[in-house]
């Protein structure tokens, strides 16, 4: 998957747990936890959705690397 597709996948996963978030205006540098109010349950759902969509499995020890949308896309790009 290219960066565009990965970014779309991450945005979809975020919007699925946070349907009040406008996918077109997500701040790519915003903290998922604090600014988008995504908790550990939501985050796990995002990890599951990304695994299903991209085939990339994210181990728990790497969770801290996925702090923002940009961070998450960069992480996935490295592992695609």
């Amino acid at each position: 998957m290219n960066e565009h597709e990965l970014r779309a996948a991450v945005i979809d996963a975020i919007v699925e747990v946070a349907p009040d978030v406008d996918p077109h205006t997500i701040d790519p540098g915003a903290s998922l936890a604090e600014e988008l109010d995504i908790d550990s349950m939501d985050f796990l759902s995002i990890v599951v959705a990304l695994h299903e969509r991209t085939g990339i499995e994210i181990p728990e020890r790497d969770y801290p690397q996925l702090a923002t949308l940009d961070d998450t896309v960069a992480y996935l790009l490295e592992r695609d």
């Binding site: 946070a18 349907p19 109010d37 550990s40 499995e57």
Partner: protein, 448 residues
Amino acid sequence: MPSLGADMAEGTLLEWRVKPGDTVRKGDIVAVVDTSKAEIEVETFQAGTVAELLVSEGTRVPVGTALAVIEPLMTGAPVAGAPTPAAGAPTSPAGAPTPAPGAPTPTPSAPTPAPSAPTPAAGPQTAAAGPPTPPPSLPVPPTPPHPLGEPAGDRRVRISPIARRAAQALGVDISTVRGTGPAGAITRTDVERVREPSRPAAPAPTPEKQAAMRQAIGALMARSKREIPHYYLQIDVDMSGALHWLSEHNLERAPQARVLPAAMLLAAVARAARDLPQMNGFWIDGSFQAAEAVHLGVAVSLRGGGLVAPALHDADRKSLDELMGDLRELVRRARAGVLRSSEMSDPTITVTNLGEQGADLVHGVIYPPQVALVGFGAVRQRPWAQGGMVGARPTVIATLAVDHRAADGHAGSRFLAAIRRRLEQPRMLDDSSVPTPTHEPQQGKEPA
């Protein structure tokens, strides 16, 4: 029409999930009711065959109105009465049973020829003099009242009303959708997955619903503070062992099977509640009624504001993996606005976990008529003294609010200590049959 809110006087029968001729078992969802704050899936505690639907979809009726007639399987004699699981056990969306003022509620002595599940402790079931105080714990079957499978008879697509509306709006044929909800039910997410990814965000709850929810929460919390003499205790818990155990547990697991620390906290509370039942029950008519099961209320914040605290049934009897699965499902449905009446009415003790939002500890407000609320703050690195040395460990502050009418500080303190023991011996959390040791070797004398 069950009462599902502190101030609920009427409800709208939104949708029937059964029709005359269908066979229903205890726990089957038979209808969806709109309480004006939330849509609740109503389960039946009457098994049998649906004889007649008395109220049509879209009709608003007062609480206590008979909705349908279900003929018990055994005798075939019709039983007049609403298939309401809340036979006098109304609850608010925040999870606390309260009497609906002025509204007739079905009395506990409504005729049910088929002997059903064991009734809870005798106290709440006897008719009270004066205004009927509905019993908070329902005559639930020993097993969790989840839908027990397809009704005998024609196969029907199980779909939530939100999903059905989404399917209509998006032009999706529901017979082509694979359901991932409970018992294979089609959820809104399932419907939306059929479509292309770039779809508009799901609509937020209407301002009216949000305002109604705010009012309900406010009324309940005000009542709690007015009526319940709260006392508060706190304890520091070393989470290093639990987190280490959890990371090993999750290491080889696919994301779908991973367990969150939150599930461990809930498991510890559930098992402690089983061991120390003074915290697990209700204050009704001037006395404490211990609950027969541990149905753990979980405070779930809703995006856009609002709070519900639905029950994880029999939380003390589940393995950690089962509890995690149930928790995921419960949170998902709470946030999708599709909870079940038994989840609203059954909590016997509630946990609120606010650590992820940043708070170090919670001074909570008990949901009447429960008698206790457990709070957890953030798990963070804190100084910790062990063996005369100070180091840094991940710790969490657990708090307990207790109704002082029901239990004294001594019992509360022991309860918090039991929670801590469970968390500091994480292996115990995964095997619900293993009792936790009740004595810590280094403690002082036991009271006489």
